[in-house]
């Protein structure tokens, strides 16, 4: 995996939200999950463009449900992680941890 394919912070948040939600990961739920955990209010436009990009990279799989009446007869799109998505998340975590290794949460060096 090259540096260019490294996940951005927002993409990580999306993927992690999908993992948290499991079976029920669709637009509204993902938005609310991220808002609930980070306080960030995400625009649906940004949500779907990013998810579209992740789908094209092969990190997530999207499936469309049958239309439901509570949404004005519109269908939902559910997202699940593909193996490469899982791998990318793990890789991001490893990089993240490596950079934090040797630093305390208040940014003091614990070893030189």
């Amino acid at each position: 995996m090259t540096a260019q394919d490294a996940l951005g912070e927002f993409e990580q948040a999306l993927l992690l939200a999908i993992v948290h939600l499991g079976e029920g990961a669709y637009g509204v739920a993902i938005r609310q999950e991220i808002e609930h955990r980070t306080g960030r209010d995400i625009a649906v436009g940004a949500l779907y463009t990013s998810l579209g990009r992740l789908e094209r990279k092969g990190y997530v799989r999207a499936t469309t449900s049958d239309p439901t009446p509570d949404r004005g007869g519109r269908s939902k799109r559910y997202f699940t992680l593909r193996p490469s998505g899982v791998a990318a998340l793990k890789q991001a975590r490893v990089r993240h941890d490596r950079m934090w290794a040797g630093l305390s949460p208040d940014l003091r060096r614990t070893r030189s």
Partner: protein
Amino acid sequence: MNVKPPALAKAWLAWIVPSADREVLLGDLAEEFASRVSRDGERAARRWYWRQVRRSTAPTLVERLRPGSRSSSRSPLIGARRDLRDAVRTLRAAPSFTLVAVAILAFATGAGTAIYSVVDAVVFRGLPLAHADRLVAIEGLSNGELSGSAPLDFLAWRADQTVFDAVATSFDPTSVARETADRQARRLRVTAVTADLFRVLGVQPQIGRVFTRDNEIEANRHVVLLSDTFWREQFGADPSVIGHALHLEGGVREIVGVMPPGFTYPLDAPPMDLWVPMVLNADDRSDRNGNRLMDSSLRVIARLKSTVTLAQAQSRLTQLAAVEAREHPEWFPRGGTDTAVPLKTAIVGPVIRVWMLVLLGAVGCVLLIACVNLANLFLARATVRAHELGIRAALGASRWQLARGLLVETLLLAAIGTGCGVVIAFVSVNGLRALLPPGLFRADSIAVNVRVLLASVGAALTTGMAIGVAPAITGTRAHVTEALREGGRGGTSSVGRQRLRTGLVIAELTLAVPLVVGAGLFLFSFAHLMAIDVGVDYHHVLALDVTPKLTPGPRPLRPKDPMASLTVSPDQARAAADLAEMADRARALPGVMSAAAIDAGLPLSGMEFSGGFTLPGVAEDAPIRISHVTREYPMTLRLPLLRGRLFSPAEDRAGGAPVVLLNVAAVERFFQGRNPLGAAVGIQGGRTVIGIVGNMRVGGPESSVRPEAYLPMGSAGIRYGYLVVRTAERPLALRGPLSAIVSAVAPDAKPGSIESLDETFSHLIAERRLSMLLFALFGVLAMAIAAVGVYGVVSYLVEQRTKEIGVRMALGATPGRILKELLGHFAWVLGAGVTLGLLAAWSLARFIAAFLFEVPAHAVGVYAAVSTVVVLSGLFATLLPARRAAKVDPLVALRAE
């Protein structure tokens, strides 16, 4: 509760979001909106929805515009960009179509706007005065010619208070110099007006006051009104100028007021600097013998009372004239009428008005031809495109997609065309302004009329859309199979379309022929004009107006005995001597070939003095044009001496023997075959005829030849004078040295205008030249566009019938036979168009009859010539594609089958 999300926000989002995401995205928003409505209330939910849409816009659009993005191909925005790209590609693939269409559109907006702007400024726009519809000019009509009014008439109208609120008059504008040390300062333009002028026009000064009737007498006339421009330039807009003195040649005047910005009078002259009161002396009303003064040079304007109509005013004028004629029958030797005409009409004149409207009609005609041709082009293209559209429809393109593509294409075409048109409009308005006859009303204010420009651009775009939509509707109607079949080979259903196109070509020809006829008539007329010999050689001649300063005195009276000589005041004699001296000095300048002087009757000036000619037993005080000239004059202007001799130096001197030169017209009129040389005649005293010179047209080529007498200046006196100089090279280069000579010889003479007679001549013919140029332009354009139309229809027909022609040639038809058949087929189209066009031209020609010079509007030769030209160019346009058809290789044509 069923609250719906904000519709506009939803629609916007639905439009920008890729269709793949649209459903789920809007679903998400709807779901969350519903839950927020029940939790936070409707207002908060709507606000939230709007915020979502606002914040989603940027990321969505950025994503879609990114190249390689999956969603981009389906976006309407990207679709528009692609439509545009496709349109450019399609238009570039058919360069001749594109070029012709753009040219036609550009011309339509450009030329149409330019001509309309001119006509609007000169004819349509109202006068910039309050209640201008109640302003009238009162014009005298004597001997069938328009003239000014006499002082007596003016006074009578002013005294009569039944129909007019106010009546005022003015002299023609003149110029005056300020008494300053700076001799180079420009002369000021001044008009003498009566006090009521400002009441008539309804104009108040911005500071100070206007004149009163008290200023109209000699003792109180030393006041002046300034124009706003003059006040700003010379006094820095100082409001305290009121009451100050303005030193002008001829006296000091007190400044009494400043007129508002933009005001000027007369309206058809360049802006004035000053206005002075007009003095109506009691003795201006009649001469010493009690005869009514026939000096009719006053321009009278009046304001109608609000309850009075033009017809009522007219009948009152007629009434007043009748009373006067009854009381003083001797004042009306030939009779005359006074006519009240709306001021606007008086200024622009019915002739100019009709001329302008003819121009507008001609442009309209060309525009119509252009539009017909454009429709024809698009029709042809729609036929070609039907095949392509059919294929695209068959491959699954929706009707909307096809229509959109066509629409974008036409709009692009319209945009390019009108863009060029805007440029053409600005360029040609400037060009036209330079070409317009001098002194045309409001010529300075002619500019591209932005409203008109916008209207024409709008019209072009709308037309473009309409034309673009038409094939989109017919072409995209899903007759896929039919379209494929028809495009593939010349099917039967194209017959109707072909007939329509033929009809359009006939219409184009019908419209074009009158324009070409008009062009022909104007060309012949102009050629006639240019072929006329003015009688002198005016090229490289410079004329300086050197009006002498004379002490005012009583006007010389014509002596009762025609053989008695005229008394010459010492002033006038000195002025003649000065002028001769100037001519002598000018002759010594390098570059001067010859120099002379003349008082009145300068060629092309139109100004002449009339006197009486007496030949005992033949003529008694018969009218003759009299010029006093120095002896070098005939040589300087190359006025040919036909018999006899010119003045000797002794005769051109004070006290010289009284002699005269007559022109051919005078000899023909008065001598009828007898020998005039040596005859004793009476012209300002008894004289001997010593020579005969050629005829000269004093008002230019259009003026008539009249009997003329040339008298030696040296033995007479003058009241006006021109120094005329023939130069080797550019005449105007001598301007400076000649002015210096004038100042040196007569320091107090008025330095007047210096003009080259070449320029004067080109001013004289400016209007006719413009008419000719414009009509030639319109005629050529009309013919060219019509020929393109013919060409288009024939080549389309040839294309359609290529296979048929191929088969027939394979079966033994010769190329010549094919050619003949095609030409024969189109001969009737040409014939019909030309015949209808000639009929139209014949009936329209009377409108331009007034503008033609010695060419009848129904000159059969012109019509015949024009028909020939039109038929020949039509045949040529037919021949080009027809020849292509005749060269069809049967093998190629059949293989295509």
